[in-house]
């Protein structure tokens, strides 16, 4: 029989196809991630001038900003994957959402930790109940809840259904929390480091290495999620094989 031509993105939602494709893809993504991270961080740490106000402490920006970006984007990715699971019931997307959660959580924790380390010399305090910081703390709680729910339910499909709905509801409440926190306390944190408005941006000399590190973090995230999704698929396959074993 002739292999059907790949015509739709959904073909990759087949676990087998996904494993085959990522077999080839993963090393490249991982390598690119490594190159971007090393270039971005070395460039940023050693080949940019100190800030006239903040001195060398500004250099933590090359970790802080990318990890903070990825913390939010990871949740967005989980939201999209959850929607795909709810609407089209492609199992790989449910497993990808599951795989992304711990990565997102770690990114959030890195952003919080680097923020605290940066905040100490700048604001004179490790922690302030600033809206951005507080939002990230709340985001951490959402990640914990999501991961805990996945871990608590034995049946894979049930867990996928429940966590998807939790992710949808959680996203709405996460946005609400963001506005609530903004309303509750106007803070110390500077505005966006990156935006389309040229004037608000950090200077070019910081900007370019920052972009490279962000690309590195994005690629790192993709590589980790692919890797973890493959692990989840194989774990699922093991369970399916065991179930078949029990039957015979």
């Amino acid at each position: 029989m002739k292999e059907p031509r790949v015509t739709s993105l959904w073909t990759y939602a087949n676990p087998k196809k996904f494993i085959e494709t990522t077999d080839k893809l993963l090393p490249w993504v991982a390598m690119l991630a490594l190159i971007c991270l090393v270039t971005g961080l070395i460039w940023g740490f050693f080949f940019t001038p100190d800030d006239y106000r903040q001195g060398a402490t500004v250099k933590i920006i090359y970790i802080h900003v990318p990890s903070a970006l990825m913390a939010i984007n990871a949740w967005l990715m989980m939201l999209v994957a959850s929607l795909v699971w709810i609407v089209r019931r492609h199992h790989v997307s449910a497993l990808a959402a599951r795989a992304a959660a711990p990565v997102g959580l770690v990114m959030t924790l890195i952003a919080l930790a680097t923020g605290a380390i940066w905040g100490q010399p700048m604001w004179g305090t490790w922690w302030a109940w600033d809206p951005r910081l507080t939002s990230f703390l709340v985001l951490t709680l959402f990640y914990f809840g999501y991961i805990a729910l996945w871990a608590a339910i034995e049946n894979d499909d049930t867990a996928a259904d429940l966590t998807s709905i939790l992710c949808l509801v959680g996203s709405v409440f996460a946005v609400l929390s963001r506005y609530a926190v903004n309303f509750w306390n106007q803070g110390l944190h500077q505005g966006a480091s990156l935006s389309l408005d040229e004037k608000e941006n950090v200077a070019d000399v910081f900007y370019h290495p920052l972009l490279v590190s962000i690309a590195g973090f994005v690629l790192l995230f993709i590589a980790l999620v692919l890797l973890r999704t493959r692990t989840e698929i194989r774990a699922r396959r093991t369970r399916a094989l065991l179930a078949r074993e029990r039957m015979n």
């Binding site: 805990a148 729910l149 259904d161 429940l162 509750w184």
Partner: protein, 218 residues
Amino acid sequence: MIALLIRDLRLAMRAGGGFGLGLAFFLIVVVLVPFAVGPQSSLLSTIAPGVLWLGALLACLLSLDRILALDWEDGSLDLLAVSPLPLEAVVSLKALAHWLTTGLPLVLAAPVLAVLLNMPSEGYEPLIMSLLLGTPALSVIGTFGAALTVGLKRGGLLLSLLVLPLYVPTLIFGAEAARRGMVGLEITVPMLMLGGITCGAIALLPFASAAVLRVNLR
């Protein structure tokens, strides 16, 4: 539909514990606060709205797992799922029954406990209004959490972990409205936001709760 509400209220009255437990917990939390932070009345009156809101929230949380777990154990939920009553209505009524037996008593008890915390008299009205507006959201969100964890053996702790982040906006706007009201600031904005969250939760969350319950029942 009213039959389910009446049954749940009757069960809460007769079973004992369910009805008064939340109130007693609320009282204890508020009594413990001065032991923890000291008896200066200026400090206590400053933090009174926040303490009362947090106490009410925790008392609410305490009784969440009873909303659906008892009906799950004795098989009533299965039977309700094949009854003419849609599950959306079932979870809405369960949330309403929870609010009537837990939320409303907390709202009524709050002013009495506010006396213990030396809250100035201007603060009472905004406190009661904000609790009245906010506690229904706590019940509805809590029912969603209860539906998520209904099949789990030790779901209590997980339930708290899932529900508490969802309570953040309600707590912020509610406590903020009560605090601002006490010091004489404008409270329209937080009150409107609080009301908006409550209305949105009541309108939309029952669909999520029912969907989750259907998954858990199969």
